[in-house]
């Protein structure tokens, strides 16, 4: 990080009565970054962005933008703008008046306002004749774009998104995720996005911050979150990962499932290590018994799920551990359900997650 980061959130605590929503969190955001905050409901992610835009006040701590404190500034004076989950478009105004609203407040001349509004409509791939339409005449995706246009018209230093895509259907959401990333690249604005979907975060973000009970669990680039989660919580966020209970024994990993064979010396672990060993479903493959991988285990196919380009298997080992395997569709097993199989994986596919994870600060 540079000496003076663009946004610096420092030791921020937010309490609602006796409930602590945010517990001494710190976060730096770089200029032009696309940062996504991911967490389950009640993790404090919404609270954090409400503090950032000024809808709520911080209990303790400071928020600085370019070195200037903004946490004491009223919401209507801050150079931040939020795209609400409900979008919060003004239903009594036309699309044009919605987009021009922030410019009108800045006393920009009507002609310039309109020119900018039309420019934003084009930027967001909406037809120019939408200028005169009412909000009620628009589809969900179009409203989404108008809300974005209005935020951009405000010309904020930071645009904050409060799960704006969560109400949309899957296909539209996928399209808009990509458009948002594209828009971020074209405008160069700093985006702070919150969602409960890590998948959504992965598509768009430069960095991802995972929140749990008012604290950051991990803040890192998508690739690191994906392959090197610091805790079971982060690992479980990505859906189906295989976690094996394990402990250190004579410098090596003792896998919880007795059926797992280490063929080439096992996995080295520090003394006294306890925790879970994570193996991603796509890093498992079908091998011949006792060869072709650093670790193997025998099991039975319980179920098979076609996922389009990929295929997923639920496999029970002989010791009864459920393992998820994901392969390209071309590598579909010829044998059907209940067939005996041997799974294999390599040492570098294993990511150890120690108990008692440290709390991330970045």
């Amino acid at each position: 990080m540079v000496a003076q980061p663009f946004v610096r959130i420092e030791n921020v605590t937010k309490r609602f009565g006796r409930f602590t929503a945010l517990d001494r969190i710190s976060l730096d955001i770089a200029e032009g970054e696309f940062l996504t905050i991911v967490g389950p409901s009640g993790s404090g992610k919404s609270t954090l962005i409400r503090l950032l835009v000024g809808i709520d006040d911080v209990t303790e701590g400071t928020i600085r933008l370019n070195g200037t404190r903004i946490d004491t500034m009223p919401a209507n004076k801050r150079p931040t703008c939020m795209v609400f989950q409900s979008l919060a478009l003004f239903p009594h105004m036309s699309v044009g008046r919605n987009i021009e609203f922030p410019q009108k407040l800045k006393k920009i001349a009507p002609a310039a306002r309109k020119a900018r509004a039309l420019e934003l409509l084009r930027l967001l791939r909406l037809p120019e004749d939408y200028y005169g339409k009412m909000i009620g005449q628009l589809s969900g995706g179009e409203r989404q774009r108008v809300a974005l246009a209005r935020a951009l018209a405000f010309d904020p230093q930071i645009i904050v998104f409060d799960e704006p895509l969560s109400a949309l259907d899957y296909r539209l959401r996928k399209t808009l995720e990509k458009e948002l990333k594209d828009l971020h690249a074209r405008t160069g604005k700093t985006f702070v996005y919150i969602t409960h979907s890590l998948e959504e975060a992965m598509v768009m973000s430069d960095r991802i911050a995972i929140m749990k009970r008012g604290r950051f669990e991990q803040i890192d680039v998508a690739e690191a979150i994906y392959s090197r989660p610091v805790s079971r919580f982060v690992a479980s966020f990505m859906g189906e990962v295989n976690l094996f209970e394990a402990a250190e024994e004579q410098g090596k990993a003792r896998w919880g499932d007795a059926g797992i064979r280490a063929l080439s010396g096992g996995l080295a672990l520090p003394a006294g290590w306890r925790g879970a060993l994570m193996v991603r479903p796509e890093l498992l493959r079908f091998v011949a018994e006792g060869q072709g991988a650093d670790f193997t285990v025998q099991g039975r196919v319980v179920a098979e799920y076609a996922l389009g380009s990929r295929i997923q298997y639920a496999i029970d080992t002989l010791a009864g551990t459920r393992i998820t395997v994901e392969r390209p569709f071309e590598q579909r097993l010829a044998a059907g359900s209940d067939a005996p199989v041997t799974l294999g994986w390599d040492r570098d596919a294993v990511h150890p997650i120690a108990e008692e994870p440290r709390h991330a600060t970045a």
């Binding site: 919401a75 209507n76 609400f84 979008l87 919060a88 609203f101």
Partner: protein
């Protein structure tokens, strides 16, 4: 099946239809009929000569009509300003405490309007509850505010308060919190939010509340009589004396008809422009 259902709809609507016809439409026609009769007749069998309207113009009855409308307008504006903060609180701030206010306001309605106005009259009169005690305790005295137009406006605002408050609260509850927050986030000051976001979005409630208070105030009788003591003559006074003291039904009918016509005009224009479905709970 379809036909049976549509007939059921008609049949279930029949009682209220008959009631409306007999109790609402018919009297209106009778009033309209008398309005065009010659002066001081008691039958509708005469040739219409529209002389009542000439009398209204010549004898300056239109002045009391304007007075009525003016006082009603003033009452509506005052009530809107007074009720907005409370209605806002009821819709957005007070939470469960709202029910206490609602009950308090509704309980007032249980006491007859006339009794409440007499109460004010006794409180405000010279030597009444307020001035009398003040004089006996401090020796100070003040002129009674009774028998003038401001006290009539006060009385109407007092009596029609709930008719503004509840529709207004309902209207304000239609304003999404996010819209207000978003406007603030986009740089709007509280005043801007009030005029550009909250008031337009609460418009159905404002409209219903204003129309109720305006229509009721324009046709109010008791306030002018009990608090104004006939020092201020409003149109309803003229109507009453035309029907009773002057025994001139055509004049009274013509005056009523004018009030009905003008109020209807003032009401229908805004109603046609605002979506009343919104306040009835249907989504916009």
């Amino acid at each position: 099946m379809q036909r049976l259902e549509s007939r059921l709809g008609f049949l279930s609507g029949l009682p209220i239809l008959i009631l409306l016809l007999l109790a609402f439409i018919m009297p209106l026609f009778v009033v309209a009929g008398f309005a065009i009769m010659p002066q001081k007749v008691f039958e509708l069998t005469h040739l219409p000569d529209f002389s009542s309207f000439a009398v209204i113009w010549e004898q300056g009855y239109y002045r009391s009509l304007l007075r009525s409308l003016g006082l009603a307008f003033l009452t509506t504006v005052i009530l809107f300003i007074v009720c907005w903060p409370l209605a806002y609180g009821m819709a957005k701030v007070f939470g469960r405490f709202t029910i206490v206010i609602t009950l308090a306001v509704v309980l007032i309605l249980f006491v007859s309007e006339n009794i409440r106005l007499f109460g004010w009259s006794l409180s405000l009169m010279k030597g009444g509850l307020i001035e009398g005690y003040l004089r006996s305790w401090t020796g100070l005295s003040f002129e009674t505010p009774l028998y003038d137009w401001p006290v009539i406006v006060f009385g109407m605002a007092y009596v029609y308060f709930p008719f503004m408050l509840f529709p207004l609260a309902q209207g304000i509850s239609l304003v999404p919190d996010d819209a207000r927050l978003a406007a603030s986030d986009l740089g709007a000051s509280p005043a801007r939010i009030l005029f550009e976001i909250e008031m337009p979005l609460a418009a159905p409630g404002i409209m219903v509340g204003s129309l109720l208070t305006f229509v009721l105030s324009a046709g109010a009788v008791a306030e002018a009589k009990l608090l104004g003591g006939r020092s201020v003559v409003v149109l309803t006074d003229d109507v009453e004396s035309a029907f009773t003291f002057a025994q001139n039904w055509p004049l009274g009918s013509a005056l009523s008809l004018m009030l009905i016509g003008i109020v209807a005009l003032l009401v229908l224009v805004p109603v046609s422009r605002v979506n009343l479905d919104a306040i009835m709970g249907r989504k916009r």
